[in-house]
C-alpha cells in the first residue's frame, strides 16, 4: 500500500515536472529529412516580371543544394505562393505559409510596398523572413531580429548612388530627378537628397505615379530646370514614356535609368522608339557583370538546365532572374552554420553574421547586429539599344540609417 502510494507520488512528481519543464516542441517546418521554406513572389499579373524568374532562380539553387546532399542531410522543400505584388494578397500568402503549411522560414517578396505589409505579422510570429529581391527598406529600417532584405540593393543606395554617378562620372551640377510617388520613391529620394547635398548638386524632383500614362507635364517642368542629366528611378512604364518624351523634345543630356526600369531592355528600346532615343543613355545595374557575362554565366547555364522549356522562350530568363541567387545562398549558408539541430533562433543568429561575396551581385552580402539590408553597391552600364558596355567603378550612397 505504502509502496503504491510512493509510486503514485513519484509518478505525480514526474508528471508535474514534465508539465513545468520547458520541453521544446519540434521546430515548425523541420523534420529529420527536410526543411520547409515558404516562398512567395508575383507569379501573375502586371508585376510578374519582377518575381517569376527570380523565384525560379532561388528554387534552382535549392535544387542544386539538394542534389549535392542537402543541408546536414535535410533536403529543402519549397512551398511557392503567388503574392501578386499586392499587400493584401501578400499577407494572405504569408499567413497561409506560416499557419497552414507550417514552414520553417519565409523567403519572398519582390515588391517593396507590398512586402512591408507583412512586417508586423512576421515579427509577432517570430518567423524569419529573408526577402527575395525586394528592397523592402520599410521593413529593414528600423532593424528587427526577423527580417533580412535588399539582396538586390537597398533603395536608399540606389538613389544616392545614381546621384553620385551623375555628379562624378558625368559632371552634373544640376540633376533632373524622377521618382515614384510611393514608398519606394520616398526611400530613394531621401538618400538622393543626402548625396546631392554632400556633392553640392542641385536636384529638380518630379514624383510620378507608377501607372502614369502621360509624362508631358512632369517632363516639361524638368526640362525647364535646365539640368545636366536626367535620373529616372521608376518602373519600366514611366521610364519608357519619359525617355521617349525626352527624345521627342530634343533632350540630349545623359539619361540614367535605375535597375527597376530595366525589366526588359529590348522591349524598352522598342518602346522608346528605337536606338536614337538611347544615344546618351546609362542603366544602373546591381549584377557583378553584364547579363550572361563570364562572372555570372553559371547562373544562366543553371537556369537553362533547370528550365529547358522556359529558356526556349524569348522572354526568359527575365532580366532580374539572377537576383534570386544571393538570398537563396544566404539561407543555405545560415542553415549550414546553424548546425544539424537548427532552430529559428540559431538560423537568425547566423543570418546576422553573414558577410560573403555571392559573385552574382556588384557588392557583397553584409549583415550585422544592426544591419538588415544586404547590398548597397551598384554599377553602371552604357546601353545604346543593342550593346551594353560596363562603366568602370562601383558606386554607393553616403546615406546611413541613424535610428
Amino acid at each position: 500500500m505504502q509502496l503504491s502510494r510512493r509510486l503514485l507520488t513519484l509518478a505525480g512528481l514526474c508528471l508535474a515536472a514534465s508539465g513545468l519543464s520547458p520541453v521544446k516542441a519540434q521546430e515548425a517546418g523541420i523534420t529529420a529529412n527536410s526543411i520547409k521554406i515558404g516562398m512567395f513572389a508575383p507569379l501573375s499579373g502586371a508585376n510578374f516580371a519582377y518575381g517569376f524568374d527570380v523565384a525560379n532562380a532561388a528554387k534552382m539553387y535549392f535544387d542544386k543544394i539538394n542534389k549535392d546532399g542537402g543541408i546536414h542531410g535535410r533536403k529543402i522543400e519549397v512551398v511557392l505562393e503567388d503574392d501578386r505584388c499586392n499587400a493584401n494578397d501578400l499577407v494572405a500568402a504569408v499567413k497561409k505559409l506560416v499557419e497552414q503549411d507550417q514552414v520553417f522560414l519565409l523567403h519572398g517578396g519582390s515588391c517593396s510596398a507590398a512586402v512591408v505589409a507583412a512586417k508586423e505579422y512576421v515579427v509577432r510570429q517570430k518567423v524569419p523572413l529573408v526577402m527575395l529581391n525586394a528592397s523592402g527598406d520599410g521593413a529593414l529600417y528600423p532593424p528587427t531580429d526577423y527580417i533580412f532584405g535588399a539582396f538586390s540593393i537597398s533603395q536608399y543606395a540606389v538613389g544616392g548612388a545614381m546621384v553620385d554617378f551623375a555628379a562624378k562620372n558625368l559632371g552634373a551640377k544640376k540633376i533632373a530627378y524622377v521618382n515614384h510617388d510611393d514608398a519606394y520613391g520616398a526611400w530613394n529620394l531621401e538618400a538622393s537628397k543626402f548625396d546631392a547635398e554632400a556633392l553640392k548638386v542641385d536636384l529638380a524632383v518630379e514624383s510620378v505615379s507608377p501607372t502614369i500614362t502621360d509624362v508631358t507635364a512632369p517632363f516639361l517642368k524638368l526640362r525647364a530646370a535646365n539640368a545636366d542629366a536626367l535620373v529616372i528611378v521608376t518602373y519600366a512604364r514611366p521610364a519608357a514614356l519619359l525617355i521617349k518624351k525626352a527624345a521627342e523634345m530634343g533632350f540630349n543630356k545623359p539619361i540614367i535609368l535605375s535597375v527597376t526600369g530595366t525589366a526588359n531592355l529590348a522591349q524598352l528600346a522598342q518602346n522608346v522608339g528605337g536606338p536614337d532615343a538611347l544615344k546618351n543613355f546609362y542603366i544602373q545595374e546591381v549584377l557583378s557583370d553584364l547579363p550572361g557575362g563570364p562572372k555570372i554565366k553559371w547562373v544562366y547555364d543553371m537556369y537553362k538546365a533547370a528550365y529547358p522549356e522556359l529558356s526556349a522562350k524569348a522572354e526568359h530568363p527575365q532580366t532580374y532572374m539572377p537576383y534570386g541567387i544571393p538570398s537563396a545562398m544566404s539561407i543555405v549558408k545560415a542553415l549550414q552554420a546553424a548546425g544539424p539541430n537548427v532552430t529559428r533562433e540559431k538560423f537568425l543568429e547566423e543570418m546576422k553574421k553573414l558577410n560573403f561575396d555571392s559573385g552574382v551581385m556588384a557588392g557583397p552580402v553584409v549583415f550585422s547586429a544592426t544591419e538588415r539590408a544586404a547590398n548597397k553597391a551598384t554599377v553602371f552600364i552604357k546601353y545604346d539599344g543593342t550593346n551594353q558596355t560596363m562603366v568602370p567603378g562601383v558606386f554607393t550612397s553616403r546615406w546611413k540609417y541613424k535610428g
Binding site: N88, V116, D181
Partner: protein, 308 residues
C-alpha cells in the same frame, strides 16, 4: 431552405476557429469585411440606384480614422470604429450634396474623381497617413485586452458583420428602404408620392459611406498596416463586381457575392498560370447566364426544380 442555409452559415461561423488555421480565419475576416463594404455599395447602388465609384475612399477614411484614433489617442475599438464610420458618413453626405446635381455617367465620373483624389490624399498627406510608407496601426484594444491575432479579432468581426447585415435588412424593410427603391425606379414618381427625393439620396450616400467606414474599422481589428495602394479604384471595382455577381439590389446577393467572389479570387491565387483567364471567364459566364446575379439564378433554378 432559407432556414437551413442560415443554420448552416451559423454553424460554419461558430465552428470555424476550432477547426481551422489562422490563415483561414484571416480569409474569413477579410471576406466579412468585404461583405460590409458590399452592403454599403448595395445601399447606394442597389437600393437607391445612384452610381457611386468612390467606395474605396470611404473605406480608406474608415481605416485611417479608426487606426489613428486607436494608435495616437489610445481609444478603445468600439469608439474608434464609430468615429471612423461617422467620419466616412460625414464625407459621404458631402458627396451626396454634389450627387443631388448629377446623375448617371456624370455622377459616376464625379465620384470616381473623388475616389482618385482621396487616394492621392492618402498617398501624400505624410504627417497623418504615413504617405507612401504606409501607416502602422496599433492593435485594437478593449478593457485592456489587445486584439493581436486573426482569431482574437474573429468574434468581433463576425459580430459587426452580423450587426451590419441586420441594419441593412432593417433599412430595406423600413420606410427609408421603400423610399430609396422608389427613387431608384423613378425620381419623378417618387416625388409625386411625397417622398423627399433629395433627402433620400443624401441618406443613401451617407449610409453607404458609413458602412464603408465601419468596414474600414473592421479591417483595423485584424490588420496592423495600411498602404494607400490598397485603396484605389481596383478596390472599388472589386466591391462593385462582388455586388453585381451576387445580384444587384438584393442583400443576399451583396453578402453572397462578397463571399463567393472573394473565395474565387483567393483560390485563383493558388493557380497563377491561368488565373487571369479564369477570372475573366468566370465574369463573362456570370454576366451571360446569371445577369441578375448568382443568387437570383440559384433561386430561379431551385424554384423551378421544386415546382416541377
Amino acid at each position: 431552405m432559407r432556414i437551413f442555409g442560415l443554420l448552416l452559415a451559423a454553424i460554419v461561423l461558430i465552428a470555424l476557429p476550432f477547426f481551422t488555421t489562422g490563415y483561414v480565419i484571416y480569409l474569413a475576416n477579410i471576406l466579412l469585411t468585404f461583405t460590409v463594404l458590399c452592403l454599403g455599395l448595395h445601399i447606394v447602388i442597389g437600393e437607391a440606384g445612384q452610381f457611386s465609384l468612390a467606395h474605396a475612399a470611404f473605406y480608406g477614411i474608415g481605416i485611417y480614422v479608426t487606426g489613428i484614433a486607436g494608435t495616437k489617442y489610445g481609444l478603445p475599438f468600439p469608439v474608434t470604429m464609430l468615429i471612423g464610420g461617422v467620419a466616412a458618413a460625414a464625407v459621404g453626405f458631402v458627396i451626396g450634396v454634389i450627387a443631388l446635381r448629377m446623375r448617371d455617367i456624370y455622377l459616376a465620373l464625379a465620384t470616381f474623381a473623388f475616389g482618385e483624389a482621396m487616394q492621392w490624399l492618402f498617398q501624400n498627406w505624410d504627417a497623418v497617413t504615413g504617405g507612401p510608407n504606409g501607416l502602422r496601426i496599433a492593435p485594437a484594444h478593449l478593457f485592456g485586452h489587445e486584439f493581436v491575432t486573426d482569431k482574437d479579432a474573429y468574434p468581433v468581426v463576425v459580430l459587426f458583420a452580423l450587426l451590419m447585415i441586420g441594419l441593412t435588412i432593417l433599412i430595406s424593410r423600413a420606410r427609408l428602404g421603400r423610399a430609396l427603391r422608389a427613387v431608384r425606379e423613378s425620381e419623378v414618381a417618387a416625388q409625386a408620392m411625397g417622398i423627399p427625393v433629395q433627402r433620400a439620396k443624401l441618406l443613401a450616400f451617407g449610409l453607404s459611406a458609413f458602412f464603408a467606414g465601419i468596414a474600414g474599422g473592421m479591417f483595423t481589428l485584424f490588420s496592423t498596416f495600411i498602404h494607400p495602394e490598397s485603396l484605389g479604384f481596383s478596390t472599388t471595382m472589386l466591391a462593385l463586381t462582388m455586388v453585381v455577381v451576387g445580384g444587384l439590389g438584393s442583400i443576399g446577393g451583396a453578402v453572397g457575392g462578397a463571399i463567393v467572389f472573394g473565395l474565387i479570387s483567393e483560390l485563383l491565387r493558388q493557380a497563377p498560370s491561368f488565373q487571369e483567364i479564369a477570372y475573366g471567364l468566370i465574369l463573362i459566364i456570370f454576366m451571360m447566364y446569371a445577369p441578375k446575379g448568382l443568387f437570383a439564378f440559384l433561386a430561379d433554378k431551385f424554384g423551378r426544380a421544386r415546382h416541377g
